[in-house]
Point group: C2
Chain length 177, copies 2
């Protein structure tokens, strides 16, 4: 899902400034995707150029140079565009895992490097698990709860696997050396 469309989806809920959208994506929606400012601001400007969103300047200064806080609202045209685009999404997922690739080639790593990698991944997973568990479950849609629970089940399986087999690989790797 392109960032442009993702932003429209967020603005469906309520109005946001660009800075706020960045925060929402990278904190409460971090299980779906990430977004940097360098991608986000041009995306919002494209959406506005296509009249999918409208903006209202909040701070009075810098109106000419485009700076100062702006709050965006989705337009009817934007809502229609979002509904059309989300229907095009298929179940196909793109895989690209540095962690698994490193482990696949792990006979080029020392047992210590492997176990560090596994431990770091475990720590990241548990941090993400805590984040998701802190998220509000009231006042969110069924679909939002679904995405959270799905991710939690994936994390849970990964943690279990790494705690079990992750420990075992360190012993096995040691024997190869």
């Amino acid at each position: 899902m392109k960032l442009d469309i993702f932003c429209l989806g967020i603005l469906l809920e309520r109005n946001y400034s660009g800075y706020e959208i960045h925060k929402v994506i990278n904190t409460t929606l971090a299980h779906l995707r990430q977004a940097s400012f360098g991608a986000l601001y041009p995306a919002l400007n494209r959406l506005q150029a296509k009249e999918f969103i409208s903006s209202e300047a909040i701070t009075e200064d810098h109106l000419n140079d485009g700076l100062g806080k702006k709050v965006f609202a989705i337009t009817d045209k934007g809502r229609a565009h979002f509904k059309a685009e989300i229907k095009k999404i298929t179940a196909a997922e793109v895989v690209n895992s540095d962690f698994l690739s490193a482990l696949h080639f792990s006979n080029n790593l020392t047992p210590i490097e492997v176990s560090t990698l596994v431990d770091e991944r475990l720590a990241d997973l548990q941090k993400e698990q805590r984040r998701l568990l802190r998220l509000p479950t009231k006042e969110v849609s069924e679909g939002q709860r679904f995405a959270i629970r799905y991710t939690l089940s994936q994390i849970s399986a990964a943690v279990t696997f790494l705690k079990g087999e992750g420990r075992a690989i360190q012993t096995l790797m040691s024997k190869q050396h």
Copy 2:
């Protein structure tokens, strides 16, 4: 992990042509990443320019225009580069799920569209599960087995979740309409 480095890792095992590397990545290593020809051939040419790999022409014709089958072999310089690069990999993973994003915003979809999406994802997961189970477990390194088993455990958890809660969401979505 950049495609260049990934290719070096594959060539560590044995010599391959570009076409064969493409096949290996997109079939037996599909749980790690994908690669298109448009990315692969320039990557191999870059690696050769840096003397990380060497090539031997197999077919005698088209030697001048760069066409005709070539088989690549990793050099000592390439081996050293790979070992240095794989050590740099951290446990951080990038998330970007169209499937989950669509479900997050699924109040803009009909119950039928949601259930189609879930069913397609389930079919994809089960197809991938069968592929991984058919993969040889002998003659592969401990790390390779680890990556396969990790992915299988993730798929297994996803299938269980979608079969259980995935059915439930269809009922819940219907009530919202």
